[in-house]
């Protein structure tokens, strides 16, 4: 694997994260606070930077990986001695808690409070990595931590880095391909390297048209899985073609939603099919609430075999399947809500009402005034901001 093969050994080898790393080294040297949260998108080098830096300056790294037991009391039992007892290397130790999100889970039975206690009493710097530390449940935690942002890596830096790797690997790559992979990665070095690897399998030359394999292959295999779900009756086949595709059930329900009504012309079958993706969605939500991944199987079966068995006959139409249009709508709706939420939070104190009920009870009228009478709308905005 290229990611393993080219893992940086020195801080200076980490791509495009100079500012963040400087803050990290300052934090470890100065210890102005007991803990730091490094945050940023996946694949920008958060965990990597901590590991490489610790080994470069000869510190012991005590690491709590996200995949270790999710049982908080056990983690706390481990953390307490680790943060208070001396290291084998004298006082040279860094504690790394990888992925705050998976550590604290969604139900918060005092896990964060306990973590704060650990931070207050630690002898060694604690570094926490997170994708999004701005969640309100981390509000108190943030006070005890220095916040270090790792930006998405510049696309030019990724391009250069991919060029270097392909040279070392002796792969001949059309420069436009490197550009496209870099752009597609959106600052995620890890995924860019994986893409390069996928394209180079059994090839010593990557041409421009090959890049489309990255996009097309995945989509075509999803189309195939959708076809099996909607057109056949073999439930084992439905589940296994779905499993072959790198798609999770919550995305797959969108694909089914997009394409089912062409095929399930019988209203009874259509409703039954929808109940199945509705069930699948509910199961998914339970999984993410409780991190109970053993339920994933049920979500998958509902979305595939469940939908498949909802019909009594196969439609004879030759269908061309389409990409889910809902994805875009979900994004736009979320953006719109964030905006409404921002305004409502501003107003919340002033109007003695929660942001949630303001969105429902006040925001529509606020919009009405803004749209129909811009002058009054401006005064209203001024009033709310004062």
């Amino acid at each position: 694997m290229l990611i393993k093969k080219y893992i940086p050994k020195k801080i200076s080898e980490i791509v495009g994260q100079y500012a963040g790393i400087t803050k990290l080294t300052n934090f470890v040297q100065r210890k102005s606070k007991n803990a730091a949260i490094i945050y940023g998108e996946p694949g920008v080098g958060k965990t990597l930077a901590v590991r490489v830096y610790a080994s470069e300056i000869g510190y012991e790294l005590y690491e709590i990986p996200p995949s270790s037991t999710r049982n908080k009391s056990r983690i706390m039992d481990q953390l307490k001695p680790a943060t208070t007892q001396p290291s084998l290397l004298g006082d040279k130790k860094i504690i790394l808690i990888d992925e705050l999100e998976s550590f604290s889970g969604s139900s918060d039975r005092g896990g964060i409070t306990a973590l704060i206690e650990i931070i207050k009493n630690t002898r060694y710097p604690i570094i926490i990595t997170a994708n999004d530390p701005w969640n309100s449940k981390y509000k108190t935690l943030r006070k005890y931590c220095e916040l270090i942002k790792f930006n998405p890596v510049e696309y030019k830096s990724i391009e250069r880095y991919l060029g270097k790797v392909s040279q070392l690997e002796k792969i001949e790559v059309d420069p436009i391909v490197l550009k496209k992979i870099a752009a597609r990665s959106q600052g995620d070095v890890r995924s860019a390297l994986t893409d390069l690897e996928v394209l180079s399998i059994q090839k010593d030359k990557i041409r421009n048209e090959d890049i489309y394999d990255l996009f097309r292959e995945r989509e075509e295999s999803i189309f195939y899985a959708v076809k099996i779900t909607l057109k056949s009756f073999d439930s084992k086949l439905a589940l296994s073609t779905f499993s072959d595709v790198k798609v999770d059930s919550s995305e797959y329900t969108l694909w089914i939603d997009q394409n089912m009504y062409h095929e399930y012309l019988d209203p009874e079958a259509l409703r039954e099919g929808y109940i199945n993706i509705s069930d699948s969605d509910i199961t998914r939500n339970r999984i993410s609430k409780n991190q109970n991944w053993s339920l994933a199987y049920y979500a998958n079966v509902s979305a595939t075999a469940g939908v498949q068995q909802s019909k009594t006959e196969v439609s004879q139409t030759i269908s061309t399947y389409r990409r889910p249009e809902l994805m875009l709508k979900i994004f736009s709706l979320a953006a719109k809500r964030r905006k409404a939420k921002g305004i409502s939070e501003q107003m919340s104190d002033k109007l003695h009402t929660s942001a949630r009920s303001l969105i429902r009870d006040f925001y529509p009228y606020f919009n009405f005034i803004k749209e129909k009478n811009p002058k009054m709308g401006k005064e209203l905005t001024k009033y709310l901001e004062s």
């Binding site: 209203p267 259509l270 339970r286 002033k350 009920s357 969105i359 009033y383």
Partner: protein
């Protein structure tokens, strides 16, 4: 023109005696102030019935100018979970009160029914621990969502939806103040749309002033607001498109109904739960649907209301609702045809 203000704040009564429509509750709260002793309180009732207003008025009468130091106002729904109970409340409750004549401070916890069970149990312990210097006033829509041990520690006050005569009195006095000539048909329309929620009535009324541009003939110096302006505000805030979506679904045009629904959701920033509750209202108030059909559709709303709260993708759940509507429509068309034979 005077400085712009939101009417719900501008006309929020600051004295208990001025709070309208909840006379019995106000009498009892006033008695607490006089006796300078008070149990924990639980205010239950839908939004816009005066829970927050009564609390704020009571607190101001109790503490006068020191009101801000002695009152903590929290929203359970904004900072859900146990942390809010553990930290904010603890810090506030720990310090001693500063007033001479009132021996306790007040914590107002709005939307307390949004707290998880765990958080409520933690809250219950805190109510015990700090009884010496703190009184809690919890506000919720449904007292049944508050755990029994808390209910038993509180005096429960049930706020009724605002009656028509009361709402009329309040709205008309605002109209006088704001120099608006409000038609009585317009007043009736506001009352119907507000459904006993005074805050909503005031918001609707204030929004009409954005489009009121005709001076009144009968009362000089005032602007006229008729049923037309009110209707425009209400249909903007409560999209009638949803009714058309229902009809599309019932007529067997599943794809059209589904496409239109996702557009409407994005356009208005509606949540799945909002959409279902709008659907339910429009079904109930429809003058064309037969009663049998209404009941079937409402039942389906109930099912998907629940599924939306349990699921994660509201689009998927709402489309599933439309698939159900599609089937209900088909079945009722067949039944009608059979019964005609």
């Amino acid at each position: 023109m005077s400085k712009f203000e939101i009417w719900t704040e501008k006309y929020r009564p600051s004295k208990l005696s001025e709070v309208k429509g909840q006379d019995e509750i106000i009498n009892r709260l006033s008695a607490f102030i006089k006796s300078e002793s008070m149990p924990h309180l639980l205010f239950a009732g839908m939004q816009g019935t005066g829970k927050t207003t009564s609390f704020l008025a009571m607190a101001k009468e109790m503490y006068g100018d020191n009101y801000r130091d002695n009152v903590l106002e929290l929203n359970a729904s904004d900072e859900r979970g146990i942390n809010i109970v553990r930290t904010s409340i603890k810090d506030f409750a720990r310090t001693k009160t500063v007033t001479e004549n009132v021996p306790f401070k007040l914590i107002f916890l709005d939307e307390a029914d949004a707290l998880t069970k765990d958080a409520q149990h933690a809250l219950r312990r805190m109510m015990e621990d700090y009884t010496s210097n703190v009184r809690f006033c919890l506000s919720c829509n449904y007292s049944s969502r508050i755990i029994p041990p808390i209910q038993s520690r509180c005096a429960i006050f049930r706020f009724q939806p605002i009656r028509k005569d009361v709402m009329k009195e309040v709205i008309l006095s605002i109209a006088r103040e704001e120099k608006i000539d409000l038609d009585h048909t317009a007043m009736d329309y506001i009352y119907d749309a507000a459904e006993g929620d005074l805050r909503k009535a005031e918001n609707i009324f204030q929004a009409t002033t954005a489009i009121a541009d005709k001076p009144s003939d009968s009362i000089p110096g005032t602007m006229r607001v008729t049923i037309n302006e009110v209707r425009e505000v209400v249909s903007f805030a409560e999209p009638t498109e949803l009714y058309e979506i229902l009809k599309l679904g019932l007529s067997g045009n599943f794809k059209a109904s589904k496409d239109k629904l996702s557009d409407v959701l994005v356009k208005y920033g509606l949540s799945g739960a909002d959409a279902i509750s709008q659907f339910q209202k429009q079904i109930w108030n429809s003058e064309e649907f037969e009663d049998k059909l209404k009941v079937k559709l409402i039942k389906s709303c109930g099912e998907y209301d629940f599924r939306i709260s349990e699921g994660s993708n509201e689009f998927i759940q709402l489309n599933a609702f439309l698939a159900d509507v599609n089937l209900i429509g088909t079945n009722s068309r067949f039944q009608n045809r059979d019964s005609n034979i």
